[in-house]
Structure formats: structure tokens, C-alpha cells
């Protein structure tokens, strides 16, 4: 009756993102390594909005149902900020 649950992909925003050690715009390794392209780079919703040139960015795993749990993103992340689980 209910569809199969998607894998859980979680990014630790204390490591990557607007409050993390690096600006995700300068890394984007997970976005590029993911064959199904499940990640989205976007402005951080928790920070003051700059409508012309946003300064604060984060990455959200959006298309979770397409994740194959290949773990490439976990391995490539220089901060170890990504976890993938069932």
C-alpha cells in the first residue's frame, strides 16, 4: 500500500553551510559526484535574505527517492558532513 521509503541523506550544517567551515559554493564535490544529482545548492533559508547577491548558501539532498546509496558523497565530502542511511 505505502511506497518504499527513500534513503535518508543528512548533511550536518554545523560542518557545511552558512555556519560551517567552508562555503558550499567553493566545494560542490557532492553535487558533482552524484550520478542521479539528488543535491540542490541553494540560499540558506535561516539567514537574512539578500535578493541581489545571496551570501549564505547550503546544500540540501532533495531527490531522495533517486538515491542508490552508493556512498560516493560520503567518501568525497572533505568535512565528513554527509551521512546516508536507510
Amino acid at each position: 500500500m505505502f511506497p518504499k521509503k527513500s534513503p535518508k541523506v543528512v548533511i550536518d550544517y554545523t560542518k557545511c553551510g552558512e555556519k560551517g567551515q567552508i562555503d558550499p559554493r567553493n566545494c560542490t564535490k557532492c553535487l558533482k559526484v552524484c550520478d542521479p544529482a539528488i543535491f540542490i545548492l541553494h540560499e540558506s533559508p535561516n539567514m537574512p535574505i539578500d535578493p541581489v547577491d545571496p551570501k549564505y548558501w547550503r546544500i540540501t539532498p532533495v531527490w531522495l527517492s533517486l538515491c542508490n546509496m552508493c556512498m560516493k558523497c560520503v567518501k568525497v565530502c572533505p568535512l565528513g558532513a554527509i551521512t546516508v542511511s536507510r
Partner: protein, 289 residues
């Protein structure tokens, strides 16, 4: 002929109707305000809550019983909305269609309203973190995007004249990118993109979730069995997995049910064996976009 041609095509294809490109139409539907709101935070479109629901794990949500069907119905309604109170931040009334290179050239050469600019592709930026200047925008949208520095190429000329725009779309198409033309919002046309699957937000929703953000083109590819030398080069170009090299037949076959009619495969063929034929030629494909 598709529904949008009936409504906005003036007896032909919707994207061949000059009226849909005009500044008068843009003003009549308040396109400037819509586009400003839409573009200043476009990357947030999947993250935002829309009626309490975000696009996060959309694939799961769409498969839920009852809720999934309701969600699909309301998403399609939003994508195709022609109402007065369209919400720009969720891209109401924003969808497109695949077109072959020849038609993209006609649009850029004759129909597109000036100024014409080429800016960084939004989708490749948000899905891959890549800045690649391959989206050709025109009319009111040019002025809106020019004010957003993250989309404007720094060291290259981004304002194009018609001949330059045609040369650029040809270059992208030959590289393997699919030309698409966009309502934004319907019926105002202001963009020709060079899309890649699955990076394109529209193709993602269409191919992975079955939402009609991008319609298939008016054509399908046809392989001439006498000319095909079974080199398989075209297979490497197809973004939609439509072509297959069948060794026992010594030729390439086309899955026309899946073909988007972009014509990109033609550029890879040294033997001139692939041509585009109108979708209407196949009775089973009539009206199937």
C-alpha cells in the same frame, strides 16, 4: 497539435506565434514583477513549502495513496496555471517544450524580443554547482537577470546580437545539449535553454516524476536503415536513452515512444542517416507529448 498550440499558437505551433514574444503581452500579464520575484530566489523553488509541502523526497510523496494523486494534480495545475494570481516563487505557469536546432534558429533570428543575453544556467548551478553560460534569454527577462550578478558571465560578452545567439545555440546543440523553449509565465516566451538530463530542473521533473514541465518536441528521430553503418555514435549523444545499437540488425533503432525529438543525435551521424519526422506522422504518437 498540442493543447498549448490550440490556445496560443494562432493556428500553428505556440512557439512560432510572434505575439507570444511581444513586450505588449509581457506588460499585459505583469511579467516584469513575476520574473523579478521568480529569479531573485530561483534556487529556493524546491526547498520552499508550497501549501505546507516541499519538493524534498517528492518521488516518495507522489507515490503515496490519495495524497500522491492530489499532489500530482495540484502540481500540474500550478505548472500550467494561466490564472491572474500566479505565484512566481513557485514558478506557476512556467513550462517548456523541446525544439530542434532549426526552429531555435528561427526563434532567435526573427521572433525573440531584444535584448538577447546568454547567462549561466540556473539548473546546472543549483544541481551541480557548475556555472556554464548556455541559457539564452530575451525580452523583459534579460533586464531582470542582468541585475543578478550570480548569473552574469564575468569575462565574456553576455549581450548577444541575433547572429551571435544563433551561433551559440548551434554550438550548444552540437555539443549535445537539448534546445528547449519556455513559457515564463504562459503565454509569454522569453527563454531558449540548452538542457542536459538530469541536471535540468524541468527534465528532472518530467523524466523522473512524470510531471509535464517539459513537453516532447513536435518531431521524432528516424533512422534510415540503408545509410546507418552501425557505428553507434548517435547512441552516445542521446540524453533520453532512446537510441540503441542492435548488433544483429547492424543498425540503430529508435524508441519513438520515448523520443523527445531534439535532433541532437543527427550531429553525431557521419552518414546522414538520421532525420527528424513530424510526430503526427505516427498515428500512435498523435497528441502524445
Amino acid at each position: 497539435m498540442c493543447d498549448w498550440c490550440m490556445k496560443h499558437g494562432a493556428g500553428g505551433k505556440w512557439y512560432m506565434n510572434a505575439k507570444n514574444y511581444s513586450n505588449e503581452l509581457a506588460e499585459a500579464i505583469n511579467a516584469r514583477e513575476y520574473l523579478q520575484e521568480q529569479w531573485k530566489a530561483f534556487e529556493m523553488v524546491y526547498i520552499r513549502r508550497i501549501m505546507g509541502i516541499t519538493s524534498i523526497d517528492l518521488g516518495y510523496k507522489l507515490q503515496l495513496p490519495i495524497i500522491g494523486r492530489l499532489l500530482r494534480w495540484s502540481a500540474e495545475r500550478m505548472i500550467h496555471s494561466e490564472g491572474k494570481h500566479r505565484n512566481p516563487v513557485r514558478a506557476d505557469g512556467h513550462f517548456g517544450q523541446v525544439i530542434p536546432l532549426e526552429e531555435a534558429k528561427i526563434i532567435l533570428g526573427n521572433l525573440a524580443a531584444e535584448p538577447i543575453i546568454e547567462n549561466y544556467c540556473m539548473c546546472r548551478w543549483m544541481q551541480r554547482g557548475i556555472k556554464e553560460a548556455c541559457c539564452i534569454n530575451f525580452g523583459l527577462l534579460s533586464g531582470v537577470i542582468e541585475k543578478l550578478p550570480r548569473f552574469i558571465p564575468k569575462d565574456t560578452k553576455y549581450r548577444l546580437d541575433r547572429d551571435e545567439a544563433i551561433a551559440h545555440i548551434e554550438e550548444h546543440n552540437k555539443k549535445g545539449y537539448v534546445a528547449t523553449v519556455w513559457f515564463q509565465p504562459v503565454p509569454y516566451i522569453n527563454a531558449i535553454c540548452s538542457c542536459e538530463n538530469p541536471e535540468c530542473g524541468g527534465l528532472r521533473l518530467r523524466n523522473d516524476f512524470g510531471l509535464h514541465t517539459v513537453y516532447k518536441g513536435e518531431y521524432v528521430a528516424e533512422v534510415d536503415p540503408d545509410r546507418c553503418q552501425a557505428c553507434g555514435m548517435c547512441v552516445t549523444k542521446c540524453q533520453f536513452g532512446v537510441l540503441r545499437l542492435v548488433q544483429s540488425l547492424k543498425r540503430v533503432i529508435v524508441d519513438i515512444n520515448k523520443c523527445f525529438g531534439c535532433g541532437v543525435c543527427r550531429h553525431a551521424c557521419k552518414y546522414d542517416a538520421i532525420r527528424l519526422v513530424p510526430r503526427e506522422n505516427y498515428p500512435a504518437l498523435r497528441g502524445v507529448y
